[in-house]
Amino acid sequence: MAWFVFPDDSLLCMCLGISFTVWFTLLLVFIIVPAILGVSFGIRRVYMRTLIKIFEWATLRMERGAKEKNHHLHKPYSNGIIAKEPSSLEQEIQELRGLGSSLGSEPEFGMADIFYFCRRGVESIVDDEVIKRFSAQELESWNLLTRSNYNFRHISLRLRVLWGLGLVTRYGFLLPLRVTLAVTGIGLLLVLTTLVGFLPSGKLRNHLSEKVHLMCYRICVRALTAIITYHNRQNKPKNGGICVANHTTPIDVIILANDGCYSMVGQVHGGLMGVVQRAMVKSSPHIWFERSEVKDRHLVAKRLSDHVADKSKQPILIFPEGTCINNTSVMMFKKGSFEIGCTVYPVAIKYDPRFGDAFWNSSKFGMVNYLLRMMSSWAIVCSVWYLPPMNREEGEDAMQFANRVKAAIAAQGGLVDLIWDGGLKRAKVKDVFKEEQQKLYSKVLVGDQEDQSEDNPVANGGLEPKEEESTQGCVVGDRGND
């Protein structure tokens, strides 16, 4: 009982002790227990609504401040920087040569034809569809994070105070809380999956494993203060299928696994990641590949098909884009996952950038830096739509099927549907595109009708075939290549 006796000058210790106890009790009651049971008090949604009101107020203040000083607020150009002519090659060349000049008889070359190509070239240097997808999206209003502020010259004193308060709240209160939760979540995952792994295979083990996984992912979701809205849950992926989704960040996995059990696919890692992988695979069937096996497409395809054929196993989760895109568009899907021939369950994930930018720009931030930024943002708000299952139709090849799925995901999530390959983040475009334009120009000179039935040169999304590292798309844990 000695610890009950507090000496007088340990008032401080007593206070600290009490506050720690209170802190942990609150944590337990409001966060961990609901996570275990799968219920929610709705605290996060109230938090989100309060934040939105504050952001709107902040933006109004900034606009007012800017107007007083007669400046212009920087507005992000979400529709592109320049106006591009929608007219085609033929139209422009006709115009250049003047209406009425005949192109038919003798193929002629006009010096001025070069204007068209010159202008198009410089237009694409100033603004193109692909490169801007690889950097973070810009916001219309300020969300009190320095990292997304472009109008900092217009901050009044009140706004500065608010920002300071926000800083203290985020780094002093939210960040430690989240780190604690994350550590708890991962620790529990490791311990409990190992324990469940000792049980004999059977229904009990599967059931427990499901519960354990869900619980730990729920704790992780609270560790990120992720506020997720799931739509159309009747379309949730079922056993024996593949779930495909657009990829913005490694956190996508946690967001999806929060609501259902999936089998992850990925490379075997070392370090903490490897420990987690080994623990996870003890209690439920995940597919981890050795680094050397990843290059062998047949092996990969076979393992995936075997998994899918077994109806008692969970659906596989795959991200076919192969890399992280900034959540304004969906890029080309790699066809490997669509060749297996099973039902595909598309899922669209759209993040709300006002509360925290979830996009992982792997060339700018490492993993730890990224997680730190995530945990010191306000929240991660996203919507998940489960789309109706799709199957490959008669006469459709894998690429066409992949494009169909991609279009559905883009339409649902409100994202731009692009044909370009996400691998263009790091690689170059094929030369065949240049030849296409050359052919087109030649036809204009000779005066033929445009041939509509030519092969689509963008079949590979623009990449040289040897530069495609894997046709399975991005697999969980493949961060080393991202």
């Binding site: 320049i82 106006a83 193929p107 240097i125 569809e129 595109f433």
Partner: protein
């Protein structure tokens, strides 16, 4: 061009006349002009704006684009341009990229090529494509036209001898045409020769049988293209262009 009446500089309103050049000096003195986004940007942007004729807002946008293309480095290399997929489709992309690294286009009266360019050089080359401003004298318009045509001329004249020879011309035509498909290689060559002949006949008039045509000089080039309206064809239109309207 001068206008009578009230004009605004920032939040100050002055009665009086405003003339084109005066505005720039007024703004330098008072230091208020449009939106200044970046901390380092301020005074440097003013200089660039004066030199290239872009507004401060446009310079800010182009600076962000520069950083995007160069992956946050200080200079751009040729490889950075190769990462743009739309540009890869363009048959004359090599010439366009070379134009950015050609010192003749930097308005410094220098020659040769460089390996990397900074933001200032990028902006100077982009200024050949800036949208035409409304208030320009005939002389200024003529100058702008000459500059743009000079840019095009430099793009063809790769060895910088002041003339576009048949070889250089043929090279450009071949780049534009396809090696396979509708036109064979011989036809492409034929087209280039025919075009060159036409150019010769326009600029030299009637030639003696044994006279050799040297090549297209810049004056011939100007004469060839005098009826083409280049201002509207060779410029980039910025969306929501917020030209600070100082003369009211």
């Amino acid at each position: 061009m001068a206008q009578e009446g009230l004009f605004n500089v920032g939040f100050l309103t002055f009665p009086g006349r405003c003339v084109g050049e005066d505005i720039v000096s007024w703004n330098k003195i008072i230091g208020i002009m449009g939106a200044l986004h970046s901390m380092a940007g301020g005074p440097a942007y003013l200089d660039l704006s004066e030199k290239t004729g872009f507004s401060l807002e446009q310079i800010g946008i182009l600076h962000k684009r520069f950083k995007q293309l160069s992956h946050n480095e200080e200079t751009l290399l040729r490889e950075d341009f190769n990462t743009i997929p739309d540009l890869a489709c363009n048959p004359i992309r090599t010439q366009i990229i070379e134009a950015f690294f050609d010192r003749r286009n930097f308005q410094q009266n220098a020659e040769g090529t460089v390996q990397e360019i900074g933001f200032e050089e990028f902006l100077v080359v982009m200024s050949y494509f800036r949208p035409p401003s409304q208030h320009m004298t005939e002389e200024q318009r003529e100058n702008v036209r000459k500059e743009k045509l000079r840019f095009l001329f430099n793009m063809h004249d790769t060895d910088n001898d002041g003339t576009i020879t048949l070889e250089e011309y043929r090279h450009v035509v071949e780049e534009l045409l396809s090696h396979s498909g509708a036109l064979g290689k011989e036809t492409a060559k034929g087209i280039a020769d025919a075009a060159m002949l036409e150019v010769a006949s326009i600029s030299m008039g009637h030639m003696e049988p044994d006279e050799i045509y040297e090549g297209i000089t810049f004056d011939h080039f100007l004469k060839l293209l005098e009826e083409f309206e280049i201002e509207s064809r060779m410029n980039i239109r910025f969306l929501n262009m917020d030209t600070t309207n100082l003369c009211k």
